[in-house]
């Protein structure tokens, strides 16, 4: 009986240890992958998505370059220790999606953005009220902040009325963190999320006009792949953007832009030095969709990018083919440009060194 207290202490320590180890394991295991498709605004002009799996050779290669750069820029030995210890890897999200949504304000167009971070381990901690409060205070340092409840989701708005351009909001929906310069876009995502939770089919908020293409392109996504989807949409936002740029530079880059339904990019970062990618230019409507003018535009864009790459040390194979997207079931309604490019490592090193010099 006299050893009873010792046993209690021992058991208590063992339980605490197990709980602590459990907590660490819970924290280290990434949150499950989540599709953010149903959170994406239907009128998005562009969607950019990247899976950040550090086990992928390509992502590891790029992360290695960034780590070297961070080490060379770090001021204190503590910072260097943190970078070398790879603790930052725990904080990385499993996926990043960025969307650009045009908002027509009379004659002007404002380009809003939303960033979706999924599967981030830090997000688990931020579900705790006390941790979230600390983060809100940290982010709002020197700025005003406002916490709102929108249909059960907690939204934090940071910034001031005087400086709208630097204001932003963020919220957590499931295992996804959303950040945007426009609170109403997060609110709309909350609604999409709630409908999805209710399993209502019409709650899915995919890009309506290019729904199939978006699904085909985005859901093919694998680790180490970057995907970009740009749609012209009913309001011809892409056409308007390109036309404005052409007027500004007095040069026609893409005279056939009005024929374009959407543009997709699928880029596989194979290792730290090479990428394999496909650009898809999808025209409106079947056989007549791909005109000679559109072919010439795609040729010119491909050659310009190829020559810009060549001047910056990138080399590779470039092919252009017109054909059919299997999922679309139409003939010759798209042009695909395929690139196998090497020399990425030196190219990125050059950019990173310039970044350092600029500062």
């Amino acid at each position: 009986m006299k050893f009873f207290p010792k046993q209690i202490v021992f058991i208590a320590i063992a339980v605490l240890l197990v709980l602590f180890l459990g907590f660490v394991v819970w924290l280290v295991i990434p949150q499950g992958r989540a599709s953010v498709d149903y959170l994406i605004h239907g009128k998005s002009l562009a969607v950019l998505s990247l899976k950040l799996n550090l086990d992928d050779k390509g992502i590891r290669g790029i992360a290695g370059l960034l780590k070297d750069k961070a080490l060379s820029s770090a001021d204190s030995s503590f910072e260097k220790f943190l970078i070398r210890s790879n603790i930052w890897q725990i904080l990385l999200p499993a996926g990043v999606t960025v969307t650009i949504i045009p908002e027509h304000q009379g004659e002007e167009i404002k380009y809003n953005w939303v960033v979706y971070l999924t599967g981030n381990r830090a997000g688990k901690l931020l579900k705790f009220h006390i941790v979230r409060e600390r983060l809100d205070n940290l982010l709002a340092k020197g700025e005003s902040s406002r916490i709102m409840d929108y249909k059960g989701a907690r939204l934090t708005e940071i910034g001031s009325e005087d400086n709208q351009d630097k204001s932003y909001s963020y919220a957590f929906l499931g295992n996804c963190m959303l950040v945007s310069n426009a609170t109403h876009l997060i609110e709309e995502s909350v609604e999409g999320y709630l409908k999805q939770q209710g399993k209502k089919k019409d709650g899915r908020r995919k890009l309506p006009e290019s729904e199939n293409a978006f699904r085909v392109l985005m859901n093919k996504r694998v680790d180490g792949e970057l995907r970009v989807f740009i749609q012209n949409g009913a309001s011809n936002d892409l056409s308007n953007l390109i036309s404005n740029l052409e007027d500004r530079f007095s040069y026609s880059i893409f005279p056939s832009i009005d024929l374009i339904d959407w543009i997709g990019l699928d880029m596989d970062i194979i290792d730290g030095d090479s990428i394999k990618s496909t650009f898809i230019f999808k025209s409106h409507g079947g056989l007549k969709g791909v005109s000679k003018g559109l072919e010439n535009d795609v040729y010119f864009i491909n050659e310009t990018l190829r020559r810009l790459g060549k001047a910056n040390g990138l080399d590779g194979k470039y092919t252009i083919e017109a054909g059919t997207l299997p999922a679309m079931g139409q003939e010759r309604d798209f042009i695909a440009v395929k690139w196998d490019v090497t020399g990425i490592k030196e190219f990125l090193k050059e950019i990173l060194s310039k970044e350092g010099n600029d500062r």
């Binding site: 005279p255 020559r307 001047a311």
Partner: protein, 330 residues
Amino acid sequence: MKKAFVFAWLIFTWVWAIEPLIADENLTSLVSKDAVIVASIKPGKDDPGVSYLASIWKETLKEREGNSTKKQEAIEDIFKQPHLPNITVAIFGKDITKLYGAGGSIFDLPSYLILVESSDKEFLKSKLDVLLEKSENLKRETFKEGEFAYNEFAGLSNDPSIYVQLGDIIAVGPGRDKLEEALELSRDSKDSIARLSKYKEMMSKMVTHGDGTLYIDNRDLAFTKMLRELEKDWKITLLLAVDYIDSMGISFDIIDKDSAKANIVFKAKDPKGIEEIKNDARFLGEAIARKFVEENVGHSSNITVSGKYVILELELKGLENIWARIFKKG
């Protein structure tokens, strides 16, 4: 002052050569065959396109009267003549690689040759005397029956400082060498570029009745080296197949006030370079056309291959407004 001088000479030799103009054999027979760049303009008397451009250029010059330096006035007087002179500019040997360092100005090169053919040579000489600065310092000397007029103290080290009259043609340069060579060639032109078979062959691919030409010889890859330096600045590789190019020619014909056509001709060193050169030609054609699309100018382009030659033909329609804008700005 130096700037004004260089600017005036640039106008004199190059503003018209924005569009390369046709080689006149009278002039090119005075250029030695070691020339690597030969740019010529031949504004024909009855050419409606050239007459139109000359008239709007003269209008622009009139508007500027009173605001020019003496040297600019001398150049403007040359352009105000009823008939514009034929002009050929030549750069020799490895000097082409120094063009980049010279910021594209031939007046920083150690040697070059400018040939001007005019019906009124006394008028032209009087203007050249002004251009060579301080006419009181101008010395005259006869060498092998040619009268050389020179000013050792003219502006920049490589500014035009000497000229010699060779019949209806006046040769101008920064030193005697190329002028003496021109004098020799005026007696026997067998070593001139005009007699060089590759030059003649290239000229045969140019636009017929063109107003001007530009010939570039990629001998010893000198043009390749110059282009690579330029491409570093531009941050884009313009010609991926430049290593395969033996020589290049550009010709331009201003048909009338509204339309023009041009040929860009590439000669391949090796037939295996033809496909790459064709791709470069297509890219150039597209790049040029896109500038005109934005200006609402009608255009068409066509690429043909003939033996080792790749020829890009361009036709433009609706240029009247562009000419007016260029010359008003100029």
